[in-house]
Symmetry: C2
Subunit: 345 residues, 2 copies
């Protein structure tokens, strides 16, 4: 069972509900929606799906422009209720297209932390060739300690194995300068820890050393580890420069009449290129390191993107990524940590 | 007079000497070369330029793979000697295509710091439309204090005014999330300082607020301020994704015979695109905040790139960027700071 936050995203609830329905109908993934029943019922009706998806009432909504604070103010928001379903064991994972800041804060508050992972990491898949690359953390933890980068490496390896089928994922550290002594204070220390023997019974990482920003798209490793600040800047820079290149290309290709004829002759190749660069097919970012996985779809997600996110969430749940992470960290026997501010109900 | 490190760069000394010569012949910029006379003489001879450029002997060389430590070990390196020429007032600025790490470390050691600027910042120009954007720091100071980001803002404004002719440059802060409270500890504090009244008689900055990685190529502001770690990752990511996009484009455009015909019809447009994305025309990165400017050309610089770097260095020197920076910081009357580890000779 996947819990879908029906009210997160620019096109909520219509596109979210349509995507969740497609995941259930076409991929056989059982879906529960969280949101205000009075608003979801007409949407389901319009889709000819009344009674087909379970709806768990959540009357409050975290807006797309709201950040971390909203998670405190809104215990009955659709994202908070979706997280509670996972917490109570009624759902295996959450899907939301809401604001990343609000989702991360809510999930940290409503889901348990895993033992040995004080902070979660956000994993995204970069469309590299011949195989995709996992970037973690893409924005969940802005000021991690060096030890947390090692934990992110373990989360990323578990993700690469389950979601991408990588057999023995290689891990690189995003920094400046390829040599071990290069970087800032955080990455110099993290390099030492990544290169050392694993601690506390954790499984060893296959550490490939330092990477630079220019290596993000080369597919040199399977998992790229970084702090949430740098990872978010790098990811947004990547997206922005792809948009820039596409814009430049468009004006270069349509600059003269001869060029326009050329473009017509190339339509098929350009369509393939667009699909390669289309993030929607990758299903969204996965928040890892909590006692339940949250897949964060893009805010502008359409039904197709939401459906992909549900497939990713189901794959991660089916692969038992949380157990895999405990195993990698050597904490399989330990009880989940309680969040210091959260009360059980 | 511009001091050119004749031995830095992948194609040193041939391309460096040729570029320096072109700057002097075609742009009327007086150039001094630093390097081993026995190696430079035959190069000048082959270019038909014996006696045309002054050569200051420097027998040692900092290799392209050497980093910061080399600056301590090699006081007679070609880059150290070029910096000494500026220090002694015999040259107005330095140009080098050597390794960035080695150049920054050498310049910090051999040139005085400016009062009020404890660490230098590396400024690069991003080819945005309709006007270019300055990114600072692109890699000189990996772990700055929040106050230093404000100083980088002042350096960037001086650079935008002199090198790019910007009248009233607007400054943005690179971070994650557009709201003031977003970011990591460094950028949250830097945001407060940038938004506050300037201190110690400094000129006010026109602060436009937070920017994200996706805004780097939109030309939204004139100067983007960041720490050297994030700036370097973002710049390399930008370059890497442009290379990726170009590679994808090439395979999309040559995938089928029809597409190849299309490409022929579009050659002119694609050539214009390549030129827009060609960093060589921008002359290189400028190390600012020291008692003398160092322009760092790309390691793979050809004669054309070295010549552009000399033009940039001459423009910055002619615009008296060092005086402009002191004026902006309100330290125009103060004496240059001595480096704590440097002895005067």
């Amino acid at each position: 069972m996947i819990a879908v936050d029906a009210m997160g995203g620019d096109y909520a609830p219509q596109e979210i509900v349509a995507g969740a329905l497609a995941a259930q109908r076409e991929h056989g993934i059982a879906v529960t929606l969280s949101g205000p029943p009075a608003r979801l019922r007409p949407v389901l009706l319009a889709l000819g799906a009344q009674g087909e998806l379970r709806v768990v009432p959540a009357e409050d909504i975290v807006g797309m422009d709201e950040g971390a604070l909203a998670s405190w103010r809104r215990p009955r928001s659709s994202i908070a209720v979706a997280c509670q379903l996972v917490r109570r064991g009624q759902a295996a994972a959450v899907v939301s297209a809401g604001s990343t800041g609000g989702i991360v804060a809510t999930a940290r508050l409503r889901l348990r932390s895993l033992p040995g992972v004080p902070r979660p990491g956000l994993a995204v898949v970069l469309p590299t060739y011949p195989k995709p690359t996992v970037l973690i953390d893409a924005g969940a933890t802005a000021d991690p300690k060096p030890e947390m980068l090692v934990q992110f490496g373990q989360l990323g390896v578990a993700y690469a194995q389950i979601a991408l089928g990588a057999a023995a994922p290689r891990v690189g550290l995003l920094t400046i300068g390829a040599e071990p002594g290069k970087g800032n204070m955080l990455t110099r220390r993290a390099h030492e820890l990544l290169a050392a023997e694993p601690q506390h019974g954790a499984l060893p990482l296959s550490f490939a050393g330092n990477l630079e920003g220019g290596d993000l798209m080369t597919g040199a490793v399977d998992v790229i580890v970084t702090d949430g600040f740098t990872g978010n800047v790098a990811l947004k820079t990547l997206e922005g420069s792809m948009r820039f290149a596409a814009g430049e290309l468009r004006s270069a290709l349509t600059g003269t009449r001869t060029a326009r004829v050329g473009t017509m002759l190339q339509r098929r190749g350009l369509r393939a290129l667009n699909q390669r660069l289309d993030a929607e097919t990758y299903g969204g970012a996965a928040l890892l390191g909590l006692g339940g996985t949250v897949v964060i779809a893009h805010g502008a997600s359409t039904a197709r993107a939401v459906s992909s996110a549900c497939v990713l969430a189901a794959n991660l749940a089916r692969g038992e990524i949380t157990d895999k992470i405990r195993e990698r960290l050597g904490t399989a026997g330990e009880r989940p940590a309680r969040h210091f501010l959260r009360r059980d109900r």
